[in-house]
Structures are given as structure tokens and as C-alpha cells.
């Protein structure tokens, strides 16, 4: 219990800080329903935990916040400065209670209840639909009082920046040593680099949160949801020790809550139905977190009814999002991705919000993409459940990378994806390449491996390409992702090195080719290729994939 309380308090401070930030941005963009949904989700989480830990005073405060934000989502009441100020006051009141709990382990004996009345008033006003636009425009342009902890986060950000620079300095020092190989420096340099590594790990850990911190919250919400619907569901979380930047973990939490609720509500069938289908009456949802090279990976699976492609088509048409002719041209594999489309979730047929609020799977997609990640539905077996994958960049993690050169450009690839590096002359390459289902396929030791060329994925012709035709040596990296191997043809391949992963700059975060950026040994930036996404975009022909996998299986049998 002590441990749980500690986690709860830390999470509360974090979520109050992000609430403050969200409120400020809401003050600037009162029309943005996405911010409002995030705010609502924060209050919801708060409410659930305070119920769970039996803090009645905190519960009454968070409940009123949850009610107001829910109300604002559902009505078109103008969000003016009064609403924001009231919510800010509410946060201060919540912060005070948390502070007392932190100090004494108990709630304060007396709580100023006037804030509840204030909010009741705002709700009453919005119900009367009295809108006051005049005040809202210039609000919050001046200084906003910041919570004490916000500055602490800033300090941690600065620490992180310095730590990253130290890592670069360490690498430079190491190269210096390799150049002169003066043994008298060796011990000193080794000691220095170990110290820097330790310091870096400590700074990083203090900014990270483990998946375990989500367990209590997620389990509680899932159980409540299942109970309310008369279903029996077990939630299993694998990889509790995996870490993620605390801000990303907060985002992931919001998405997981949404996905788990969605799975309980729509995916898992009623017990009777499950028995009739020869399944165990208890549904199972699994959240499995792991690291895949430069990416944090969360896999959410359930054993419910899965998504029906035709039902999705019908819904898209019914909601006026697409035309009948349009949806019929899209394959089943592709159409299921449309569950993340804007406006797909939310209102049901009778015009009511599903689950009481308009946050749907589109919010999950928006949230994950805003953090530089990706979400997709991978295998979907109707009647057997579905698998949803979320990938997020592991910012500030140190990951081994290789780099590939194309013309004057250089790109990094996380080493986990690397299967083999090949160097061959262009004649051998030509002799072993054939076209299969529209793709170039290379035969390597009797195995068929599809090929991608740098110029093809970068959509860029190297201006010096003509001269290079005389150059007879071709470099190729064989990469592996989702169990599929493919070759990437480049001009040169550079050795492995350790690199600090950074998120993509916001101005380029939507480009699917890249999962992050890093600074390589020569202190120049390099974009990191998103191998999994490149494979999904460029090698997705089912016939081709089938041909290759059959090939690989056959060989497998021969080998054993």
C-alpha cells in the first residue's frame, strides 16, 4: 500500500503539471476538443485512483472536474477565461490535498468547498447556454503562475541536455585514444567514460517511468468497465520493467485506457456468447511492452470478436466519411486501419456518445502521432480477436546503429534490424535478381529476399548516379522486421556506433520514413530510418509476402 501511495502521489504531481499546461493551451485554443478530451481523461484517471485509495475529499473535487470537462465536451458552451480560471483554482485545491497526503499520508481535515460551488455555477451557466465571448480572446497571454514542479521538469531537461553532450564528448575522447593508443591515458579514459555512463543512466532513469506504474490504474479501469457491462475479463501486463520517458508514458496511459475500454466494450463478447463460440467465458486482454531497437513497442491483444471489415465499410459509409464505391475498392487489410480515422468512433447510430464522451480511437492515433509514434492494427482474425501495435521512439536511449550512405547523404539504422551486410559486384547482383509480383527479388544462398533501393524510398535521384554505374561494387544491408527479411541497396555501409536517440523535430514529425534523429561520431545529425514502417509501405503486396514466406518455410524444413 505504501508503494502504491507513493506512485499515486508522484503520478498526481505529474498529472497536475500536465493539467496546468493543457489548461493554458486550452485558454489559447478554446475550440480544440482534443485538449479538452485530454483534460477530461486526466480527471477521470484522478477520480478512479482517489476512489480506489479511499480519499473521499479528493474524490469529490476530482469528480466535479470530471463532470465539468465532460460537460464542456458535450455542450457547445464557449470556453471563456472564467472556466479556465475556475479549473485552475480546482487544480490548486487538488494540489493542496495531494501535498497534505504526501506529508501526512492522510487527507486534510478541512477542505475549502467553495470551489465546488464555483464549478456548479459554471455548469449551471453552461446549461443555460449563456455565452460570453468578449472575455476569452486575450486571456492568458501574460504570465501564468507555474507550479513548483514544472520548473523541476525544466531542470531535468537541462540535465538531460548536458548529459547528452557529455556522451558525445566521451565518444570523441575515445576516438582520440584510438588514434594515439597511448596506454597511460587508457585507465583515466576508461574511468571517465564509466562515470559519464553512470551519470547518464541516472539522469535518464529519473526522467523515465516504468510500465509497472500503469498497472494499478489500468487494471482498475478495466475491471470497472467489465463489471458495468456484465463481462468477465482478465488483464495481463507483460514487460512491467520497461521504461519510457515520463511524458510519453503519460500519453501512452491515456491511449491504453482508451484501447482497453474499447476492447472490453466492443471486442470481448458476453459470457454466454463466448461459451456458444467455444471460448472460455472469461475474456483476456494482454498488454505486452518491449524494446525493438530504437523503438518502444506496446502490443495490445484481446480474444474477442475482432473487427469485421464489412462492418467497418458500412460504418464509414453510414457516417458519411466515405462513399460506397470508395470503400469497396479498399482491401480488407487496409480497411481495418480506418478504425483510427477521424470521426469513425464517437457518435453511435442513435447520436449518443459511446461511453459518454467523444474520445475514440482517432484520439489514440492523434496522441501517438503527436509523440512521434505510430499505431496500427496488425493481424485481425474475425472471431478470434485483434492485435493493436503501438510504437514510440525511445527518446534519449543509447542504441547501437549502423549507417548507410547514398550519394552524399547518410542515414542511420538501428542495429537490431540488421541481419547481414553484403558487398558484391554489380554483375553478381544482376545475375541474382528477378522480378516477382512486381518487386525486385534477390536470391541469397537459395533464399528469395525482396530488394529496396535507397533512391526508391527517398524518392530522390542521386545527381552523380551516372558516374557510379562504372563503380562495380554494390553494398547491401539485409534487414529484418516483423519476421520479414529484405535487402536495402546503398552505396556504402558504415560501422556500428552508439547513438543517442532523439525524437524527430516537430516540423518533420509526420514523415513516415524516419523514427528519430541522432548525432553520429562526426557530430553531424543523421535521420534514423523507420525500418518497420518502410517495409509496411513498400513491401506490402500479399502475394509477394506469401511467396517469400513459403520459400522461407520450405528452406526451413530442408534445413531441419
Amino acid at each position: 500500500m505504501q508503494e502504491e501511495l507513493k506512485i499515486f502521489i508522484n503520478e498526481s504531481y505529474e498529472s497536475l503539471n500536465s493539467l496546468d499546461k493543457e489548461l493554458i493551451s486550452l485558454g489559447k485554443n478554446p475550440e480544440n476538443t482534443e485538449i479538452l478530451s485530454t483534460i477530461h481523461a486526466h480527471y477521470q484517471t484522478f477520480l478512479e485512483s482517489s476512489k480506489f485509495l479511499h480519499f473521499p475529499k479528493l474524490e469529490s473535487l476530482t469528480h466535479i472536474g470530471e463532470r465539468l470537462s465532460n460537460h464542456l465536451i458535450q455542450s457547445d458552451f464557449e470556453i471563456n477565461s472564467e472556466v479556465i480560471t475556475t479549473l485552475m483554482k480546482l487544480n490548486t485545491a487538488i494540489r493542496e490535498i495531494i501535498f497534505t497526503i504526501d506529508e501526512t499520508g492522510k487527507e486534510p481535515s478541512h477542505v475549502n468547498a467553495s470551489i465546488i460551488n464555483d464549478i456548479e455555477e459554471v455548469i449551471a451557466k453552461s446549461e443555460a447556454s449563456v455565452t460570453d465571448i468578449s472575455e476569452s480572446s486575450d486571456f492568458l497571454l501574460g504570465g501564468v503562475p507555474q507550479g513548483g514542479l514544472a520548473s523541476e521538469t525544466d531542470i531535468m531537461d537541462r540535465f538531460m541536455g548536458i548529459a547528452i553532450e557529455m556522451i558525445h564528448a566521451r565518444e570523441a575522447l575515445h576516438r582520440f585514444y584510438l588514434k594515439f593508443k597511448d596506454i597511460s591515458y587508457y585507465q583515466l579514459i576508461t574511468r571517465f567514460s564509466l562515470l559519464i555512463s553512470d551519470l547518464y543512466d541516472q539522469v535518464r532513469q529519473s526522467r523515465n517511468q516504468t510500465v509497472g506504474s500503469l498497472v494499478m490504474n489500468l487494471d482498475k479501469i478495466m475491471k470497472d468497465e467489465a463489471r458495468a457491462r456484465g463481462k468477465s475479463v482478465a488483464l495481463r501486463i507483460i514487460g512491467k520493467d520497461k521504461e519510457l520517458d515520463s511524458r510519453m508514458m503519460e500519453g501512452l496511459r491515456i491511449c491504453l485506457i482508451q484501447l482497453v475500454k474499447n476492447a472490453v466494450e466492443h471486442g470481448i463478447e458476453d459470457p454466454d456468447e463466448r461459451i456458444a463460440e467455444d471460448k472460455s467465458p472469461d475474456g483476456a486482454i494482454t498488454v505486452e511492452c518491449s524494446y525493438k531497437g530504437e523503438l518502444f513497442h506496446a502490443l495490445i491483444t484481446d480474444d474477442g470478436r475482432g473487427f469485421q471489415a464489412d462492418a467497418i465499410r458500412k460504418r464509414l459509409v453510414d457516417k458519411g466519411l466515405m462513399m460506397t464505391e470508395e470503400v469497396s475498392q479498399i482491401s480488407d487489410e487496409e480497411i481495418i486501419q480506418y478504425i483510427f480515422k477521424d470521426g469513425y468512433c464517437g457518435l453511435n447510430e442513435s447520436g449518443h456518445f459511446i461511453g459518454g464522451k467523444p474520445t475514440g480511437l482517432d484520439i489514440v492515433k492523434a496522441k501517438i502521432e503527436s509523440m512521434g509514434g505510430a499505431v496500427y492494427l496488425q493481424s485481425n482474425l474475425p472471431g478470434k480477436g485483434c492485435e493493436i501495435h503501438i510504437t514510440l521512439p525511445m527518446i534519449n536511449a543509447i542504441v547501437p546503429v549502423i549507417s548507410v550512405v547514398f550519394g552524399k547523404e547518410r542515414y542511420a539504422i538501428a542495429k537490431v534490424h540488421l541481419y547481414e551486410i553484403l558487398q558484391l559486384d554489380s554483375d553478381t547482383l544482376l545475375r541474382n535478381v528477378e522480378i516477382l509480383h512486381g518487386h525486385s527479388v534477390f536470391t541469397l544462398r537459395g533464399k528469395k529476399i525482396p530488394l529496396l533501393y535507397m533512391k526508391q524510398i527517398l524518392k530522390y535521384e542521386d545527381p552523380e548516379a551516372r558516374d557510379k554505374e562504372k563503380n562495380l561494387i554494390v553494398n547491401m544491408v539485409i534487414l529484418e522486421t516483423d519476421g520479414i527479411k529484405f535487402g536495402l541497396v546503398a552505396d556504402l555501409v558504415h560501422d556500428m556506433e552508439e547513438a543517442v536517440i532523439r525524437p524527430l523535430n516537430t516540423q518533420i514529425s509526420g514523415i513516415y520514413l524516419f523514427s528519430g534523429v541522432t548525432i553520429l561520431q562526426d557530430e553531424k545529425p543523421a535521420l534514423i530510418l523507420d525500418v518497420a514502417e518502410i517495409r509496411r509501405r513498400h513491401l506490402n503486396n500479399p502475394e509477394l509476402l506469401m511467396a517469400i514466406s513459403e520459400e522461407q518455410e520450405e528452406k526451413g524444413i530442408v534445413a531441419t
Partner: protein
């Protein structure tokens, strides 16, 4: 009195509040970003950070520069540090007199969205850039 770091693009003079300018650099290797919006010249490393380079010529729809002579103005915006590519960097301008005017819809073909206000002098107009607006418009990505 306010101080502005001034620079030119084509024959138009721009100013940015000196407090927002962190450095002026040239000869930094720019890493191109494939599939990015054409106003994004690429990425550079600045003091251990990786920052986006925005070509103001392209942002303001000027013809592309014909030579490789340009400067990076490293500026602070509300969305982090970015580099702005400019043709030439001029002196710091101290402005004491009150010649400030709001900008009309466009001047020299530049959208007033990016300009906070202007100062009119006898022989030229100084356009004060709103660097936050430069990063505000979302990049169009070709997929």
C-alpha cells in the same frame, strides 16, 4: 529603445528582436530531409541539439538562391530553437524613434501573417519577423 538583428533576403530587409537571436552561423553542413516540405532546408547540429533549418526564401516564395552564400540565424521560438536561412546578415539596428506601423496585407509579396509590424525609414522599410508564426504553420508532408 529596441534592438533588432537585421538581415536581407533578396532586396528586402528583415529584423528579429536581438533577444531572440542566439547565434549567426555560416558553413554548417545541412542534412537534407527527404519528403519534407520544400521550405525545410534540413537539419543542423547546434550545441548538441538537432534543429530544423527553414529557408526563408522558400517560406516567402522568393526565387531560389543561385549560389551557396547564405547564413543561419539561430532563433528561439515558442516551439524550440530553429535556424532561418537568410542571404546576408547586417548590423544590429537600434530603433529609438516611433516609426512603427502595422503592416498592410502584404508588402514585397510577403504574407503579413509572418510579420509583427514594420518600421518605415526614408529609403527602406524594415519588416519585423514574428518567429513564432514561422514555425506555426504545419509542414505539408508528401507520403
Amino acid at each position: 529603445m529596441r534592438k533588432f538583428c537585421t538581415f536581407t533576403i533578396g532586396d528586402v530587409r528583415f529584423g528579429v528582436d536581438v533577444l531572440k537571436v542566439l547565434a549567426i552561423l555560416n558553413q554548417v553542413e545541412i542534412i537534407r530531409v527527404p519528403l519534407a516540405n520544400r521550405t525545410i532546408a534540413g537539419l543542423i547540429q547546434y550545441r548538441g541539439q538537432i534543429i530544423t533549418v527553414i529557408d526563408l526564401r522558400r517560406k516567402f516564395e522568393f526565387p531560389d538562391r543561385k549560389n551557396e552564400n547564405f547564413f543561419h540565424a539561430i532563433v528561439k521560438t515558442k516551439r524550440g530553437i530553429i535556424s532561418l536561412l537568410v542571404d546576408q546578415v547586417d548590423e544590429i539596428e537600434e530603433i529609438t524613434q516611433n516609426t512603427r506601423v502595422e503592416m498592410s496585407k502584404s508588402i514585397h509579396g510577403i504574407d503579413s501573417f509572418f510579420i509583427s509590424y514594420t518600421y518605415r525609414f526614408d529609403d527602406y522599410v524594415l519588416l519585423i519577423l514574428d518567429v513564432d508564426k514561422i514555425v506555426e504553420t504545419k509542414s505539408e508532408v508528401f507520403t
